[in-house]
Amino acid sequence: MVVLPSQLLGDIRNNKAGRGTFIEKGKIYSERLGILSKKMGYINVVPLKGRYNPVEGDSVIGIIIETSSSSWLVDINAPYPALLHVNEVPWSIEFGDTEKYLNYGDSIMAKILMVDESKRIQLTLNDRNLHKIVGGHIIDVEPSKVPRIIGKKGSMISLLKKYTRCRIFVGQNGRIWVDGDEKGIEKVVKVVNMIENEAVSYGLTRKIESLLKKDAKDVR
């Protein structure tokens, strides 16, 4: 069900207020234009559109927008830029040498280390699978559509990987990195756009599979 901002959703005596909602005088209201979902007693509103809301521990794809002598500022499609400090990267960097490692326009796979009350975001590269991205292509999608692109228990994404032979990494912030041969990348772009446009239709995974099967000759 689509709800509008300030629409009454329930009472705090029976429900808990989840994401995208606010409480006023004991009643829960929607904060955004989005789709209502009730899970485990929580009332959530998943926005139809909008920027990424950073959550601690999320894997994201960021783009360096500024370098300073001991840190970088990274655009992660959130309302504010995120900070990446030299202590949070796997390389040992001399003071002032940051540009040699990551420069303006470079892309990274990072994890959100912490988000504080005033929405200041810190990133880290100190983990498995986190690194600077080289090669491939980045697709931008609505952050709210990311769960549909991954699918239930990763069903959609494994389908895509199987039929296109591409390496795919989906950042929670709505950026998707694809690497593989040109044809594979083209196909992924096409399918991702289709998923984004038809995110609410029923039986989407099956539909996508038949589409991919049609023009796939060699399947791993």
């Binding site: 991205i133 292509h137 040109e182």
Partner: protein, 260 residues
């Protein structure tokens, strides 16, 4: 300003080297163009133009006012553009920025220099009273190539315009006197390839941009070069040729939409 990740730029360049574009078009191919004329009832004329996902709405208002002293017997044309924040995260509210002013000027020049409006017929009393045409361009959705969408919307809107003479006690309403319309076609250059009708990704990495307005006979009526890069002589010839060819197709769509 959006930052373009360098790997996205590299991907677009790699595709271009193989003669491909990100949305599968040919280098000189346009996206789907849709024109909906007369969609605002309160305006004298209006049109909504879609080029792919780019959407531009133009409204025409007319008023009676004083002519400029150097042209006392011709009507006045004023073009304004607004890039509302609704259209793109890059657009800011407030007074028009450089890009909005350039957009309005390019549209204005295309319309003015092609002499599509018979401004001399819009004189009421020489030196005292003439018709003033306000062309207001609103960008609703930005996915590249605003120039073509805006000028096409303005032309389609002009063709639906009725001069509101009755409201000013100047006789019966009459359609705006018009000649043959010009058609603007924009191309951009990046990584030594020239592509027509750039989408947002292509526009973001573009080095140079050239807008050419041609008329029915294939004569050039207006041109605007943008951005800091350069074109070679051959590339400019190519752009002009592509503009004339695409202009023919777009003119057909324009005529069809206004029922001519």
């Amino acid at each position: 300003m959006t930052i373009i990740p360098s790997i996205k730029r590299d991907y677009l360049c790699r595709l271009a080297e193989q003669g491909k574009r990100i949305d599968g078009r040919k280098f000189d191919e346009y996206r789907k163009i849709e024109i909906k004329p007369n969609i605002i009832s309160k305006a004298e004329g209006s049109a909504l133009v879609k080029i792919g996902n780019t959407q531009v709405l133009t409204g025409i208002k007319m008023d009676v006012g004083e002519p400029y002293p150097d042209s006392p017997e011709t009507g006045v044309l004023t073009t304004g553009a607004e890039l509302v924040p609704l259209a793109s995260p890059d657009f800011e509210a407030g007074p028009p920025q450089e890009d909005a002013i350039e957009l309005a000027r390019v549209v204005d020049r295309g319309v003015r220099e092609s002499e599509v409006i018979e401004l001399e017929k819009l004189c009421i009393e020489p030196g005292e009273k003439v018709w003033i045409i306000f062309v207001d361009i609103h960008v609703l959705d930005y996915d590249g190539n605003l120039f073509d969408a805006a000028s096409l919307a303005s032309l389609a809107a002009l063709f639906t315009t009725k001069v509101p003479a009755k409201r000013f006690d100047l006789g019966e309403d009459f359609p705006l006197p018009l000649r043959e319309p010009p058609v603007s076609c924009t191309s951009v250059k990046f990584n030594n390839v020239v592509v027509a009708d750039p989408c947002l990704d292509e526009e973001e990495i573009a080095e140079a941009r050239l807008t050419v307005a041609t008329d029915k006979n294939g004569d050039i009526r207006a041109m605007q070069k943008g951005l800091s890069g350069s074109f070679t002589k051959d590339e400019i010839k190519k752009v002009i040729k592509a503009s004339i060819n695409n202009g023919k197709e777009i003119r057909k769509i324009l005529y069809k939409s206004i029922g001519k």
